[in-house]
Symmetry: C2
Subunit: 457 residues, 2 copies
């Protein structure tokens, strides 16, 4: 049965389009510590028509399919079982068109984020979504996980940059909604079904992305803040005072800042005595203009006593040094074993939540360390917990997540649910919501073939 | 049967919660020339629980339900039949909470847009969606039609301002996704199902809206442009040069500008000899700062010969006079009978499309007049066609819409499909897309009770 299916699939995609045996088992199912791929075969279609034929065949044969993109996800969304075949879009890597007048980029889903950013830049335009895994993460993966990153505050998540898309359903039907316009109120917005659905409702094959004008200059500052309540006041002041130019508002709690700057590779630009540090970045007309605007803003913030100290960077190297503090995830490994959490909650609830969490952690794990940083403007915190054994991960997960539901928080701001967060989804979603999700899954993929076992069972 | 149902419904909502007889038939089913309401009764629940009980009963009785909001739609989305009952949210008019620190507003769906704007402003915040019908249109109606307006360029459509929502399904199930956070990647984004679905998948009862910092100043200019291709160059220059501050970029074709300014109530601020006129508006830190930024931008645009003339307004009254030209829909009635179209298409395709349309119109209706203006930055044009008889509307509709599909255009940028545009939906959506929409409708409302006959049959 399987042999025959593999033969028929090979007829569709050709020998270049299929991997079996060691070519499969030597690939990992994800990033860092991921298990090896257990699937029967990896199918690599060259185009949407081939994928459509592949899915038709899989549907006829009740064959489950897991999709692989750039394999940079953090929640086990690409994990396979022995029953699966994998569809990888690694041969669909063409940028189809850049329309500079309409400011859109049409692409196949296997293209990496970085390639898209560079292609936009070559035409003096800008694709605003950015994240650390840009060199490997594919745009298809970005879309099905609704990727966020550092500039959500100004430009939104991936959802906000997708004007059109094409997807192949579980039965091979091609849904082509390749709109190039921002406004299109003609019936249900089918894009939204696929964005953020982790490949469980369809396989995204192509997309039309919205590009923006390339920022011509920027300015960056690091400031110290003494009270939590001043953070949101500073955010409002910055959004108002920079007239829409604010592109980042990254907060580091003292635990984070003092740990990272204790390493010799960094020179702390500000003393580590304040409870909060914020990186403010503005993008706009020219370095000089942005510098002037940010300087004026910092003056106002000092006057209003929202900040106690500030550094406005004067060069690219100074700016890079500040971002290097924020991006130094390696420093956190000094607290190994470490566990990363990606949560969101309303800003007024953050302080109390973190205080309770710290108390709970220390009561249960007196040696534990809690380190917090994140995109405050989006309500998104990254909480890193160190010095807790991997064996106790489930108990730790429950400890972190259980306080979120009463506050309207989310157990996954950016990283989705995948396989790993599935047991905790009930913390963020009601029974009625889960039932409606299942209704939709059932309607689009009644045989449960696509990414089976991801999000829910 | 009906009498008994009405009695049971009255038990749920009380006598204040139901209208029958003349109280129903004297209400129109929409705006301007709308027919009278034909429904058996208008049910006015006081809260979500009542509505849930109402829908449960309707579902048991196979009773169709049309939803009424502020009745300002333009596509017959609220039209009733003799078989219907109407659900109106006119008694659900409470703003539940404004969270100034998190910058969110939680509201019942029957509150008008203007009330929401004013409530936000009273707390020194800003709800950015704005449109002419603000005094009557409800936020529930805005959400289910994904309303746009004049500031989409900067702040997006209603979809981009809804963080959470609650809806009642056809069978009475309450789906409460009242998230107050921007980032929430936990399974399917159920909000998106209801936003823009014209009430066919559920009745929106409450929402959490994202508020923005209140702009502290603004500046407005009117410029003349000689070539179509310069419009998108000017747009890029303005978006880049104003560093995210650009809030409107409204284009008026010469036909529009010269017609409107021929009325004595306007004094043309610029000669009517240019093919295009653009209103640029920027919002930000202070009137002075925005004025200075816009002035500098106009200087660059003149230098690059993207504009041939410009006026930077110096007072609120000058600004209002310029917007009064753009907003003078009354002037268009001088070409009665008139027909309004709300289309979108990629910017590079606009010029050719309009040229072909003008040729087709004049060939078929030599007396006809075509007037164009719109939100160019969003790819959204309003095309007004005058001097064509109402009897020939269907042929006119086909003439306008048939050219859009090959260009990737949309027959409805902002105004949705409703009842009126249903025959033309195939111009914007493929068979596969329509089939998928029906699959979703079938999954959520298998008895087709909600807004039956809207979007598709």
């Amino acid at each position: 049965m399987t042999t025959q299916l593999i033969e028929s699939l090979t007829e569709i995609v050709g020998s270049k389009g299929i991997l079996t045996g060691e070519d499969v088992s030597q690939r990992p199912d994800g990033w860092m510590n991921a298990p090896q791929c257990k699937a029967k075969a990896i199918i690599r279609p060259a185009n949407t028509d081939e994928l459509s034929a592949v899915m038709k065949l899989c549907h006829q044969n009740d064959q489950t399919v897991t999709t692989h993109g750039g394999m940079t996800g953090l929640v086990g969304g690409a994990i396979t079982s022995e029953q699966d075949i994998v569809v990888s879009l690694e041969r669909m890597r063409n940028i189809v068109e850049i329309d500079t007048q309409n400011r859109t980029l049409t692409t196949e889903a296997g293209v990496t984020l970085q390639t898209i950013q560079e292609a936009a830049e070559a035409d003096d335009l800008f694709y605003p979504v950015d994240l650390g895994a840009r060199g490997s993460a594919t745009i298809g993966g970005n879309i099905v996980t609704n990727a966020g990153g550092n500039r959500v505050l100004r430009y939104g998540m991936t959802r906000d940059s997708v004007l059109g898309l094409e997807a192949v359903l579980a039965d091979g039907t091609v849904i082509s909604s390749m709109s190039k316009v921002i406004k299109n109120n003609t019936g249900y917005d089918l894009r939204q079904l696929f964005i953020g659905s982790e490949g469980t409702l369809g396989i995204v094959t192509r997309a039309v992305l919205r590009l923006r004008p390339k920022p011509r200059g920027e300015a960056t500052a690091l400031v110290a803040v003494e009270r939590f309540s001043d953070l949101s006041k500073l955010l409002s002041l910055a959004e108002g005072g920079l007239s829409g130019g604010l592109s980042s508002f990254e907060v580091m709690w003292n635990d984070f800042y003092s740990l990272v700057t204790s390493f010799e590779r960094h020179k702390a630009p500000l003393d580590a005595n304040s409870p909060f540090y914020v990186i403010l970045e503005t993008q706009g007309k020219s370095d000089e203009a942005e510098q002037a605007r940010l300087e004026e803003l910092l003056g106002e913030a000092l006057e209003q006593e929202l900040i106690s100290d500030a550094i406005l960077t004067q060069s690219v190297s100074e700016r890079d040094k500040i971002w290097a503090i924020r991006d130094d995830i390696e420093a956190l490994f000094s607290l190994s074993p470490i566990h990363g959490f990606d949560i969101s909650l309303p800003i007024p609830a953050m302080e109390g939540y973190l205080e309770n969490l710290r108390t709970d952690l220390l009561a249960r794990w007196p040696e534990s360390r809690m380190i917090v940083f994140g995109h405050l403007g989006d309500g998104n915190l990254h909480v890193i917990i160190g010095k807790v054994s991997y064996d106790e991960k489930h108990e730790l997960d429950e400890t972190v997540y259980r306080g979120l539901a009463p506050l309207g928080g989310s157990i996954s701001a950016e990283h989705c649910i995948g396989h790993e967060k599935k047991p905790y989804l009930h913390h963020s979603r009601s029974e009625a919501e889960l039932a409606l999700m299942r209704t939709i899954k059932q309607a689009l993929d009644p045989k449960m073939l696509l990414n089976r076992g991801k999000i829910f069972d």
